[in-house]
């Protein structure tokens, strides 16, 4: 059986560092940071741990439905989603994740663009 990226990069011990770094960068960033202004710490950490583990094929089943519910009403725009993607890629690069693996992870993220970004009501 092929090893998941989660296992390949050292399991939770690495993922925990990635999550904390991602958390720091997201909070510092002026484009995406404001989304977290009123979010409870444990909820945010929980979300990001599951999010990163899930993107890397770890022990988290993060259904699209769950993601949609967690972000409902947030009014995320495309440029903010792009910035988020950039930050994820930067953090992964800092942790020596290989290029093709970053592309896989960011690709999995990109695949959820539609459920994270609410479409304007056309009716």
């Amino acid at each position: 059986m092929e090893k998941s990226l989660f296992d390949k990069y050292g399991g939770f011990s690495t993922v925990s560092k990635i999550v904390l770094t991602l958390y720091d960068r997201l909070l510092e960033d002026d484009d995406v940071g404001p989304f977290f202004d009123d979010v409870d710490l444990s909820r945010l950490i929980d979300h990001q741990t599951k999010f990163v583990s899930s993107l890397m094929g770890g022990p988290a089943s993060f259904s699209d439905d769950h993601i949609e519910r967690a972000h409902r009403g947030m009014q995320i725009e495309d440029h903010q989603f792009d910035r988020l993607k950039e930050i994820v890629a930067e953090v992964l690069t800092d942790f020596d994740v290989e290029g093709p693996d970053i592309a896989t992870i960011v690709g999995a993220f990109e695949a959820r663009r539609n459920i994270l970004i609410e479409k304007p009501d056309v009716n």
Partner: protein
């Protein structure tokens, strides 16, 4: 520079928030840089309760009075980050003033890590639960394919070594006109019917220690004496097949699709083993199985065919009569005709 000045410089420089608290009016006569970084620039009117609304001043004063020390935690927002600090109040040694030294350790990272570990352990727990459930499903499936004893052997050693079981009895059943039934009905209907009938056979067999080994289309093969020896194997098989036929007769009375079976039985030895390394299945084979299949092939509709040896072993309950061509005997339930 005086010692006091040096002390103040030191207190300002460390990465721990330090402040002096006037216990009379709860103001801050001194705050170091780190403390200000977290709680904003000093303002003489700022009180302890402004920075730590959850802190009870009465408790603080009481603790200072009784033991001179109090510890607690406080969370606050610094920009977007929820910061958590461990607070330690110590009554100053100088008895002339009612002052407490407040030391704040930044434990935000620890809190974040705790949250992460909580989250992760919940994920792992859920995963473990799912793996356990899947394992149980696999076990259930394997137990459908092989007897428990063979499964236990397979689980422990990764193989099931072939064993000779002797003596045992084998029952082989099939349906007359099965191909015609297939042509007349939808595949789903046939599967549902077979499922229904085979499940009933399994239940009947279980009552008499007779276990189904395999089905292949309309061929149903069961055995008694594998893998646990059974002294009454012939009687177990004879009882099972008589009840199989009775069940079918009753079922045909109330079901639109009519099933006519024939059964062959034989006693002797069989080899039991898991066959195949990819699509493994527990099977029994040997001349006794061949004999049962042969008897089945010459049995009449809704009858049980066997040889004299088998019939002799169950004479106390089952009678036998020679077939028309004299090659085998047909068994009947003595109680039924009584």
């Amino acid at each position: 520079m005086s010692i006091e000045a040096i002390n103040e410089q030191l207190l300002r420089a460390i990465g721990v928030g330090v402040a002096l608290v006037d216990l009379e009016n709860l103001s801050f006569p001194f705050r170091n840089d780190t403390f200000n970084e977290w709680f904003g620039e000093p303002d003489p009117s700022t009180k302890l309760s402004d920075l730590f609304p959850d802190l009870d001043a009465q408790t603080l004063r009481a603790d200072m009075h009784s033991g001179g020390r109090m510890t607690t935690e406080a969370s606050f927002k610094l920009r977007r980050r929820t910061m958590t600090v461990a607070l330690e109040f110590n009554l100053a040694q100088n008895a002339s003033e009612n002052i407490a030294v407040l030391v704040c350790q930044n434990i935000t990272r620890i809190k974040e890590l705790e949250s992460m570990i909580d989250s992760y352990s919940m994920m792992v727990e859920r995963n473990t639960h799912e793996i356990k459930r899947e394992k149980e499903q696999v076990e259930k499936l394997l137990l459908n394919m092989m007897p428990r004893a063979a499964y236990e052997e397979y689980k422990t050693f990764g193989v099931v070594s072939p064993r000779l079981f002797d003596p045992v009895s084998v029952l082989a059943l099939d349906f007359i006109g099965f191909d015609e039934q297939l042509a007349q009905h939808e595949p789903g209907v046939i599967v549902s019917e077979l499922n229904d009938i085979y499940s009933a056979f399994d239940r009947i067999g279980a009552q008499f220690s007779c276990q189904r080994i395999r089905t292949n289309g309309d061929s149903y093969v069961a055995v008694s004496g594998v893998p646990d020896p059974n002294q009454d194997h012939a009687m177990a098989v004879a009882n099972s097949c008589v009840r199989f036929l009775r069940y079918l007769v009753r079922r045909n009375e109330s079901h639109p699709i009519q099933w006519t079976a024939r059964i062959g039985v034989a006693s002797g030895s069989v080899i039991g083993s898991v066959v195949g390394s990819q699509n493994y299945i527990y099977d029994v084979f040997g001349p006794t199985v061949g004999a049962a299949l042969h008897h089945r092939s010459i049995a009449d509709d809704m009858t049980i065919a066997t040889d004299t040896a088998f019939a002799d072993s169950v004479t106390e309950k089952f009678g036998a009569e020679a077939s028309k061509d004299g090659t085998h005997v047909l068994m009947r339930d003595l109680a039924e005709n009584a």
